[in-house]
Symmetry: C2
Subunit: 353 residues, 2 copies
């Protein structure tokens, strides 16, 4: 299992995803501010992973606080929660994880627990979020494997792998689940400009697992599909609206349109924590725009001339009608999503898969 993120005493340790695959470097965050910066600068990325990071950052921040008395600790706690919430706007798992930490804090405070006890509660809650995420990915993998063809040529975009989660992955969890189920799987990884999560991270993960992987530039997906070389598409998600519209890494929408054009099933894999019923549709999902330099430079090389403008949205929205199914830890949900996703949160319902 890849060590995406872990607690070591009072430190949050993350593999630096900006440096992969060239170097395996670990970043040690000793404060909440360092964790927030790591999320913002994409040391760690991927919707579930940044949820876990935020929770651990909050726990470490409060653990290190010298504040005395529940009220002062509460002030410190909410300040740290705001710091985490300001890191990245699109992935809803971040806000979901912060909300879980808030509920844990409020319950402990209400129960009259001591500052030390509250710190323990926060540590445990963050670790639970981490552990549940791994379990969710494994469940997603098992459900998803059922719809993967026996001889699968899978295209994926960006990295929705172990590195994007606490481990195992969402979209790559489905791929791993299919391999574990004995299916014959090969993968095409879109390189995923500008940050190259596909070439750098997805290919790195899959090569380590011995799954045959071919890297293509994003603009090759159409030609590949037209040649009949893809029969399944699965991607992750950063936020799924109540109607099934899905924000994911920029370029996902184009892949979905191409998949539809070639009659290839297009699936989204994400834990329930990525589904945001309070966002009615994709038009309400805030889309982060990042610095022009991510597009204009790679390493020391300048790719575009001075004087050219740059548009660099980190995500796009795939409308629900292009999505064949949403694979979650509670099964695969199908259109109409406005009904099936509601049911996903009713614990006694078994989804149709």
């Amino acid at each position: 299992m890849l060590p995406t993120i872990a607690r070591e005493g009072d430190t949050v340790v993350m593999i630096d995803q900006r440096k992969l695959p060239a170097e395996e470097v670990y970043v040690h965050c000793k404060t909440a501010a360092e964790v927030a910066r790591a999320i913002k600068t994409m040391v760690i990325r991927g919707a579930p992973a940044i949820g876990v990071a935020a929770a651990m950052g909050i726990a470490v921040g409060v653990r290190k606080s010298k504040a005395t008395g529940t009220q002062k600790v509460a002030a410190e706690f909410y300040r740290i929660c705001e710091l985490m919430a300001a890191t990245r706007p699109t992935a809803v798992n971040l806000f979901w994880a912060i909300d879980r930490m808030k509920r844990a804090f409020a319950a402990a405070a209400k129960a009259g627990q001591s500052v030390d006890q509250i710190k323990d509660v926060l540590d445990r809650e963050a670790q639970t979020i981490h552990d549940e995420d791994v379990a969710s990915c494994r469940a997603m993998g098992a459900y998803g494997a059922e719809v993967v063809p026996a001889e699968a040529h899978i295209l994926t975009h960006c990295n929705a792998g172990a590195l994007a989660t606490a481990g195992y992955g969402t979209a790559l969890g489905v791929i791993r689940g299919a391999v574990e189920a004995g299916k014959q799987v090969s993968v095409f990884a879109d390189e995923t400009r500008p940050f190259l999560q596909g070439a750098r991270l997805t290919a790195w993960e899959l090569v380590r697992d011995g799954i045959p992987t071919t890297v293509i530039t994003d603009n090759m997906a159409g030609a590949l599909m037209r040649q009949g070389r893809v029969n399944f598409v699965v991607v992750g998600a950063d936020r799924i609206a109540a109607n099934g519209d899905t924000a994911n890494k920029i370029g996902t929408y184009g892949v979905a349109v191409l998949a539809r054009e070639h009659n290839i099933p297009f699936y989204v894999a994400a834990p329930l924590s990525t589904i945001d019923l309070s966002t009615p549709d994709g038009s309400r999902i805030p889309i982060e725009e990042r610095s022009a330099k991510e597009v204009t430079h790679i390493g020391g090389a300048q790719l575009a001339p001075d004087g050219a403008a740059v548009w660099n949205p980190a995500f796009d929205v795939t409308p629900h009608h292009l999505i064949v199914g949403i694979i979650t830890e509670r099964g695969i949900f199908r259109p109409p999503y406005v009904e099936s996703l509601q049911r996903a949160f009713a614990r006694d319902t078994v989804p149709t898969s």
Copy 2:
């Protein structure tokens, strides 16, 4: 006018397109072999430009030949033609230019001209190919400008500009023509991985011309169109089959599918020398595959891990049904292309535009 390629005495001078926009370096080719290597290694690229380069390379090669007697010169001439033909397989302009040089050579030899006279004929033919290409681009620009919206937000892919031709450009010729016609034009340039002709070359040309230009990564085109920010797409071509199927830079097909999805007119701009009536449809166009390293590395940076395979086709084929019109120096041709392209070569026909 950009100095893409020119004769200086017995040398062919080209701007090194691999080094733009960071550096403006000129490569001086003193032999046919050096010109062939420049084409192969993409010092110069773009279908019309490599046709001109091949013609000039042949002229320089024969000029430098120490062979005496028409027969020995002929052997040398045909050897050089083969050298040029082996550089790149997809762009038909290369073979078209070589054929023109062969016809010029055969006519001069048949007329009993001296070796020195034949050398002059080849020099003049190569220069004529160059000059006609500029004139073709200007005519394409004038025809194309008519179908560009008065307030145009144009997406283009790769570089079909001055740098891809003897000057002015095909797709960028249409954009320049629209600007000259007083239309309000802004351009989105797909960066065009892996070789980045859009970010490096198209943006550089357009910024020099003062045309507002925004660089996007290839995978952003879908989101851009979905937001209604593009109302015209124009690209170049490397080979147009008799039925209108068009080979162009990898990723063009995806752009065409997205344009259709969003009801945005998708035009191809190319001189008649790009139309190959002897190729019945796109399935017969040979598609060059280039080295994996173009995908896995940029400058010194390694983007993908060792152990991952790479697929790197340089071109894809856009089926004719996605193309609204083909803009040439003789007007705009419309579907059914299998009829209109035939007519394009009948000199007395005026196309409907």
